[in-house]
Structures are given as structure tokens and as C-alpha cells.
């Protein structure tokens, strides 16, 4: 089931979902009438890879997977490698169990993803590209396959198309939360156990099968054709100066209208929630930004702009692009503990701080919720979460402490009520719920 596409504020640009405003564009005829593949044809006939690479660098496009690494630099690093065999991997494995942003993008406009992948492969000189889709999204995989086949029939990609050779494969991948991380995804595509690798060397040097590989989120790649068609200048005028462009955000929880909306990076969390999210059912207590590894923002921090640096500074991540509003009925310690437990369940087990540390974090959270907490546990939790982040091999591990840390940071009174007095202000935590408190 797909969430509805919401319309943003009037001055918010439509780019990623511009073609699919009136429903999915599965057919290549319709898509081409609306401008699909024009950028690829323009790039391959009029421009050189170096010019396109320069345009992408100038546009300031940054990876939408969460880290926000500049796409131009990533491609340039891959191009610079001496190894003649390069790969491009489009990461459409939506790791967040409650998110469907990437899936909806691939379902609504598969051609943008395929065209973006084709341009990326052409720029970095890759002859094979893989679009990785979660096996839980069969419709997205099917539409991408059709899009790839149609593009092959037209001769844009495929074997021996006017001297170029580019084969795009749509691969369904199964796995847990951690597979969304780039090195883990590469191992999964190789058919190995899904575990991250030490970086550096980054995948741009040693990626799939040890060859230089560009791994980009599908949202990043879907923006590439627009940038090539309209130029870098047009793109930098969108969003904020630091992080131009738009991204997709999923609204959920206690918002009036759950759905997916395209927002310019730099719009504040409050603007996103109040505009497309509609009026809230109840008063927001907190907003969870970024899925299971994200952080809770309190209602007085909602003016944080939605971009990588600001969110990270506020203790959240932009990663999965989900905003989940929580009302007064939720106990944040309980929710943060649940998320930590989910992360410990999803951990691949490669590094010890992750395998054991996150489990201990979840145990500390459970102790807080059940009233068996010691006064020193808050400090222990803080130190443990910091150590896990410092020892992290992948994003899951680095951000695993975010939920509990952000609760301690912004909702200290609620946390202390649990840890010092054994009370749950929301009345959710079972053994210690407050008499007379209203539960959901």
C-alpha cells in the first residue's frame, strides 16, 4: 500500500516527482513526452563525460542516502581510478522498515532512476550497473525492469548501442536494516554475508568485486537527469545554498495527513509538518526524524532546517527521510528503547561494540522502562553510546545511540522521571505507570 503524494507549499519546487504528479509514469512513450531520456541523449551526443561531471559538481548535488557526500566528488574519485572496469550501483534498498520513500519514487517514475543510473554509468565509464531493490517491493522492481527493457529497445542502453555498452540489471535483495548501508549492500550483491567493510578504501576505489564502484541512492540518481537538462545554475537556485535541491520526505504518526512530499532541503521541520502534514490531531510532543537510527526533536527545536548538517547537529539524521510525529500519549524512553532493540536485532554482528554494545544499550533502556534502573545508568548509557559511535564500522552502528541520546538531551525531565524516581509521566511503561495517567 502506498501513501498519498502530498502537495507542498506553493513556492516549493517539484523536481523528483514532477513527471509523476498525476500518477505513475510507467510507459516510456508517456515518460519521453514529459522529457525522460532527453538529458541522456543530450549528454551522450552533445557533451563529454567531463562536462557532465563538472555540471554535477557545480550543482552541489549531495547523496540523499543520509551522509550527504557530494555526488560530483564521489564520481570524480571513481573516474580517477586506473582500473578499467567500473560499476554503478543504485541503492534502492529501503532499509527503514516503516519507510516507502524510495519505493514510491521507483514506482512512480522508474525512468528517472534508470536514466540517472545510465548517465552516472556513462560518466564514470561503467559498462554494468545494478539497481538494488528490496524484495519487499516487487512492483518497483517490475516497473524498473520494464523501464530498462524499453530503454534497451530504444537503443539508449544495452549491448552495442552505438559503440557504448551498458547493461543495467535490476536486482532484488533481501536482508535486514543494515543492508541499506553501501558496503553491506555491495557484499549482499556479491552473494556474501551482509556485513560492512572497513572504510577507507571507499567503494569508489574498491567496491563491487573489488572494482571502483559508485554507490548512489536512487533519489540522488533521479535528480541527475534534471540537472543535466536544466544546468547546474538552475539546481543551485533550489533549496538552501549549502545543500541545494529537493528530497522526498514521508510524514507519519500524529500528523493530520500522512503521506509523501517533495521538500526543498533547508525547509524547516515545522514547515514540512504544518504545511503538507496538515493540522496535527493533537499537540506534538516530539518528532522522530530519520527512522530507527534517527533522533527525537522536541517541539521547540522544530525550526531546525531539514538538511544534513543541521539535523546531525540536532542529534537526528536525514537518512530515510521520514518524519514521525509523536503526541503526548507516547513515552519517549519506551519508544527509544524499542528502536534500540530493533537495531540490536538488525545488527550483523561483525564488530563487538555493535553486537554487544547495542544489546546493552537496549537493556539499559529496558531497565529504565521497567523501573530496575540504577542512578549511574544514565552516565553508563551516555558513555556506551559514545563508544559505539567512535568504534563504528557502518552507519547503523554510528547512529545506534541517537534515539536514547536525543531523549536524554531534549527530554531530560522525562528520562530522569524514569531513572531517578521510577515514574513514567506518559503512563506507558508498565511496571511503573503512574496512577491516573491517561494511556493511549
Amino acid at each position: 500500500m502506498s501513501l498519498p503524494i502530498l502537495t507542498g507549499a506553493a513556492d516549493w519546487p517539484q523536481m523528483l516527482l514532477a513527471r509523476a504528479a498525476n500518477g505513475a509514469v510507467a510507459d516510456i512513450e508517456v515518460a519521453e513526452a514529459k522529457g525522460a531520456w532527453a538529458a541522456f541523449k543530450k549528454a551522450t551526443t552533445e557533451l563529454t563525460p567531463e562536462v557532465v561531471l563538472h555540471t554535477i559538481t557545480e550543482s552541489g548535488l549531495r547523496g540523499r542516502g543520509g551522509a550527504g557526500y557530494p555526488t560530483g566528488s564521489k564520481w570524480r574519485d571513481c573516474v580517477a581510478q586506473a582500473d578499467p572496469v567500473h560499476y554503478v550501483v543504485a541503492n534502492g534498498f529501503e532499509a527503514d522498515p516503516g519507510a516507502q520513500v524510495d519505493r514510491v519514487l521507483m514506482e512512480l517514475d522508474p525512468h528517472a532512476v534508470v536514466e540517472g543510473t545510465a548517465i552516472a554509468a556513462w560518466v564514470v565509464g561503467a559498462e554494468a550497473a545494478i539497481i538494488a531493490v528490496s524484495s519487499a517491493a516487487p512492483l518497483a522492481a517490475e516497473r524498473l525492469r520494464v523501464a530498462v527493457e524499453e530503454a534497451e529497445e530504444r537503443g539508449y542502453i544495452g549491448r552495442g548501442a552505438d559503440g557504448r555498452r551498458l547493461e543495467i540489471e535490476v536486482r532484488e535483495v533481501t536482508g535486514s536494516f543494515v543492508v541499506g548501508e553501501e558496503t553491506v549492500l555491495l557484499r549482499a550483491l556479491e552473494g556474501k554475508r551482509a556485513q560492512p567493510d572497513q572504510r577507507p578504501p571507499y567503494p569508489t576505489r574498491e567496491g563491487l568485486w573489488g572494482k571502483p564502484t559508485v554507490v548512489n541512492n536512487v533519489k540522488t540518481l533521479a535528480a541527475v537527469p534534471w540537472i543535466v537538462a536544466n544546468g547546474a545554475g538552475a539546481y543551485t537556485s533550489l533549496g538552501s545554498a549549502q545543500t541545494p535541491g529537493t528530497t522526498l520526505v514521508q510524514l507519519g504518526g500524529a500528523v493530520g495527513t500522512p503521506g509523501i512530499v517533495e521538500v526543498p532541503l533547508g525547509a524547516t521541520v515545522r514547515e514540512i509538518l504544518d504545511g503538507p502534514g496538515g493540522s496535527a490531531k493533537k499537540k506534538f510532543k516530539a518528532v522522530l526524524v530519520g527512522g530507527p537510527t534517527g533522533g527525537f526533536l522536541p517541539s521547540n527545536a522544530l525550526d531546525t532546517p531539514f538538511n544534513y548538517e543541521a539535523l546531525r547537529q540536532a542529534g537526528a539524521v536525514g537518512g530515510s527521510g521520514t518524519l514521525l510525529a509523536l503526541d503526548e500519549s507516547a513515552c519517549l524512553v519506551d519508544v527509544a528503547t524499542l528502536m534500540t532493540r530493533y537495531l540490536s536485532y538488525s545488527a550483523c554482528g561483525k564488530t563487538i561494540p555493535c553486537r554487544i554494545g547495542i544489546k546493552r544499550l537496549a537493556e539499559l533502556g529496558t531497565a529504565s522502562c521497567s523501573g530496575h534502573v540504577r542512578p549511574s545508568d544514565a552516565q553508563l548509557l551516555n558513555e556506551l553510546a559514545t563508544d559505539i559511535r567512535d568504534a563504528a564500522l557502518c552507519g547503523l552502528e554510528a547512529d545506534a545511540g541517537n534515539p536514547l541520546l536525543s531523549v536524554m538531551r531534549y527530554f531530560a525531565p522525562e528520562f530522569e522521571a524514569h531513572s531517578l524516581r521510577g515514574e513514567c509521566p506518559a503512563g506507558v511503561c508498565q511496571p511503573i505507570s503512574l496512577a491516573g495517567a491517561v494511556s493511549s
Binding site: 500500500m1 522498515p97 554475508r193 514521525l324 507516547a330 540490536s344
Partner: protein, 279 residues
Amino acid sequence: MRTERIPGLAIFKGLAFAIRQVFRPNLTVRYPEEQNPISPRHRGRLILLYDEAGALKCETCFQCAQACPIECIDMGGVDTRDRYHVHWGASEQYAERREESALRRSGRPVPDRSFDAYEPIDLGPLDEILAAGRYKPANALAMLEGAQGVYGHLPVAALQHIAHQTGANYAELYGLATSYPHLHFEPPVGHVVRVCRCTSCTLLGGGRVLDAFREHLGTDVGGVSPDGSVRLGVTECGGASVGSAYVEIDGEPLPKSSPEDAATIAAALRANVPQGEAA
């Protein structure tokens, strides 16, 4: 307390200790020329440690089994995903001793699933899969998927056969299989109930629904109900939950879920076990 007041005493104490050490006999044994006597009851057994709360410290990560060069480490337990798993090493070596020691302690053998001999399977179809994969450990994932397609699950005998034929370490194969959620070690049962554990589903009461299923099915996540008819698992809603937590029965999402419904659903599923799949 008084001794602390005498200056320099600690130095002499330290010196005295050091000098005593010089005249003590050497503890190093030039193994294997010389050997320390070993108690006849010594079995060289690996012991699992417990923490102060009484919980087992072993995370069942199989790193020790993977590191062991002669594959003698063998274990059973609950892994980090709360699934009961057994690493079937060379069980026949160890099971006898274990039975013997259990007998000695209690006077009767203690039945333990982890040391039962595994069921033999027809290896014919598996050999074809192995040949198709050219016996390369790099194609192990495809082999495991093929084996699951043939046998319905991954029997221990199949994993052992793949390990023997490809030369891949058993623990590596086991690690590969456990990291993919679509591969499973237990035979399929009649029905599967899956509950989403994402944050938004939990806010919609997913935890209470899961607890209700736990209670009414009589099993925890990853387990099978006592009568062997229904398995309880977890899934991912992918944002599909609007209004109530996302619950899947045999892959079909429920239109609405609540803790109250869990009892009736559990009873209905237990009563209605399809014959073909239950076998």
C-alpha cells in the same frame, strides 16, 4: 594502619617478594617433552560464562566456531535475533561425553535438541544444484537458495553436504544463511503470523498486538506454537500501516489489527491447518 607510617617498608616488602620469586621453582613446562598431570575427570570442555544478572554472556555469534581451525567447537543457543539455533559440528564426538556427564550428574540422560543426530536427506537434487554452481564457495548463496527450494528449508544434512563438497567452512555457510531473512532452518509450518516492529506501528499499538500473539500462540518471536501449527515472526510494513499496526497472516496483510483480535485469529489459525503444508 601502623605499618603505613614506617617509611620505606613498602620497598622492602616488594624486594622481599621479588627475591622469593627468584628462588621459587620454575612453573614453565617444556611441553610436550614434559607434561603436567591431568585430572582423569578433565574433559577440556568449553564453559559459557554468566554475568552478574545470571544471563548467559555468550551471544551465539559463532565467531569461536568460525575461528576454530579443526571445527571442534559446537554450540546451540539463542542468537542475537532471538532465534534458537544449533551449530552442528561433529556432534558424534561430543554428544557421548555430554550424555555421560549428564548421566553422572542426574542419573539419566537429559534430552537436548542440540545433540540429536540430524535427519538424513536425499542428496540427489542437492548434487545437481552443486554441479550447477560448479562447486564454488562463491556461489554459496545460490546453492542455499536452491537447497531451500528443494527441501522447503535448510536441513543440517544439506548444509553439511554443501560444506563438504565445496570446501567452504560450515560456520561460513551457516553465517551466510543466518544473515538472509528468506533462508530458514526450520521446516515450514501451517501458518505464519508476522507483526511489524517499526516505530510507527509500535505507536499504533504494535507492541500490544505482538504481546497478544505471544500469549495466545504460546511462543515467542521466531518460534512455533506448541502444537506446531503456527509460527510467529516479524515483518516490515514499509509505511503501509495507517490506523493500526501492520500484521501479516501467511503473507496477506490484515485490514485492521488489535490485541483483542489476536485471540480469535490465533484460535482460527490453529484449528485450520492445511494438510499439505503442515507436513
